[in-house]
Symmetry: C2
Subunit: 200 residues, 2 copies
């Protein structure tokens, strides 16, 4: 590891390089930027980091991050509680919210079932999902889970878990992304898009 000869700077480089996608060189560049920055910015950044840890927890209903007991989506009376969108991670909520196409509530699993990585159904918020669907007047569960092998397995697990309940169970469409060109797309995606073709 390159050393700056200054313990206080080496320590910052070391801490920064533990962030995902930040290597040694980038950490050094960021550390030197911080070193030269306006002190107000640095203290704002440090505060923002500490605040996000101190002032947030998980929504007790959907496991999204929340500043209160319920997240801002669960607490919003304009959202439709009869629709629940099941996602792997909090970041998926942000992506879906940006599309402005879903008006219901969410449920964050915290991952997908992956026995190879040691993630079993009990490690995810699956039981809480079943309970929510049973106890609240839920009409539709929309699975917005990434269509990976583990994602598909998780969707099968959820559909079995909820099969006796009188709800509509849906999944987001897989297919050709808007703006992409067929010739550059993988065959599995093209095959899936053909199999799940729609009538016009």
């Amino acid at each position: 590891m390159r050393s700056s000869g200054l313990p206080v700077l080496d320590r910052l480089i070391n801490e920064l390089s533990r962030l995902p996608g930040i290597g040694q060189k980038t950490a050094q560049r960021l550390a030197l930027f911080i070193l030269k920055s306006d002190p107000v910015y640095v203290s704002d950044l440090a505060d923002a980091m500490l605040d996000v840890k101190e002032k947030t927890g998980l929504c007790r209903q959907c496991f999204n991050i929340a500043e209160d007991e319920l997240c801002s989506i669960c607490a919003n009376p304009k959202r439709n509680p009869a629709q629940i969108c099941v996602v792997e991670d909090i970041v998926d909520i942000m992506a879906i919210e940006e599309s402005h196409e879903f008006e219901g509530l969410y449920h964050v699993l915290g991952g997908v079932i992956s026995p190879l990585s040691g993630v079993m159904p009990d490690d995810l918020h699956l039981a809480e999902l079943a309970e929510r669907v049973k106890e609240q007047k839920v009409q539709e569960v929309l699975m917005a889970i990434n269509p990976s092998t583990e994602g598909e397995a998780t969707m099968i697990y959820i559909s079995r878990m909820l099969k006796d309940l009188d709800i509509r169970l849906t999944r987001i469409a897989s297919g050709v992304p808007l703006g992409s060109q067929l010739e550059y797309l993988d065959t599995a995606t093209i095959g899936r898009a053909i199999l799940t073709r729609r009538d016009l």
Copy 2:
């Protein structure tokens, strides 16, 4: 800008995206990583940032970063004070130190002369360099300045500034980087390497 629906998280994403090379998506990924991290790590990272601002200043002799009046290099009695290596930026010191080929002291200019960007000689630590060379028993000034147009102009400025002093004035070699292939190298570098060829 994508919003997480959570002001405390949005604020962190916003602060992170002000770092160089960190876009909105990366800032979001880092913010979520911080959100899920061990609180000890987050407080260590925040502390390291604040410390680097609070506990460091510039070395009064060479303008490297320092925890005391003098940086660790200027304060090291094993370094040779008769050699001064002139660099643009603190980051260059780190790169040169890693090569273990220089035993003298440094002088950080804080940039290069660039009238187009509004950087004039007075904005750099050039006067301080002249004073150091005059007042201390300096035998060699090695210019390790990036060989850009502005860098070349700065080297010419320094050589004129120091021309009446009885010192050896050198610059690091420009040429073909070790491990690179001539066919992929730019013509200016090849031309320079031929002009500055050495006898074997």
